[in-house]
Symmetry: C2
């Protein structure tokens, strides 16, 4: 097994023990401990997923759906427990993006020149 796997497991451990992950876990537990927040968050996630799928397949989103989404987004933002979780999720998502960018840098450097040559 390559050293890369050992390093990946170290990073996984680092993420699991990070303040950011522990905060995320705490925020997530708080949402799940509150039935109203839990239900609202689940509905919001379902709606987000449905809108994303429509966007990907080019299906039209009706004005009613848009209005429903905006209303639900307002409810979600007004709920302190959920908005805490969503802010924490956003920070974690940025960290994961950073990590992916760092790790795949060697591949990006390798393939960068090919794209440039194709564009000439």
């Amino acid at each position: 097994m390559s050293n890369m796997y050992d390093l990946a497991y170290s990073l996984e451990k680092g993420l699991r023990e990070s303040e950011e992950f522990l905060t995320l876990k705490k925020c997530y537990d708080e949402v799940n401990a509150n039935p109203e927040a839990q239900a609202l968050f689940a509905s919001f996630r379902d709606l987000q997923l449905s809108l994303q799928q429509k966007q990907m397949t080019g299906e039209e989103v009706s004005p009613e759906e848009m209005e429903k989404a905006q209303k639900m987004f307002q409810d979600v933002q007004a709920n302190a427990i959920i908005s805490n979780l969503m802010n924490t999720e956003q920070r974690m998502s940025m960290i994961i993006n950073d990590i992916n960018r760092i790790i795949t840098k060697p591949l990006e450097e390798l393939y960068g020149p090919m794209v440039e040559q194709e564009e000439e």
Copy 2:
């Protein structure tokens, strides 16, 4: 800065120095050193990208395009320099997938239960 970033940079270094990455770089250089292989590989990549985009947007792929793709795939497979590169790319792609799965395990564990509850 979090320890996660230090660990990500260690992993990046591990990847860059790995036998798999060095082999990939060598295969890639061999393709780029051969004008015929380089041109065929670039055309194949363009076609793949175009077919993927059509698949994502649900646009129809014509029988002519399918035939062209199959023909080009045969040419690519018959070219030892390119098929070497593609096999090496596939191994690297599996490693990157493994690494991503390992790193995001804590998040998967956190969100797993929510998906189950939604399905109830």
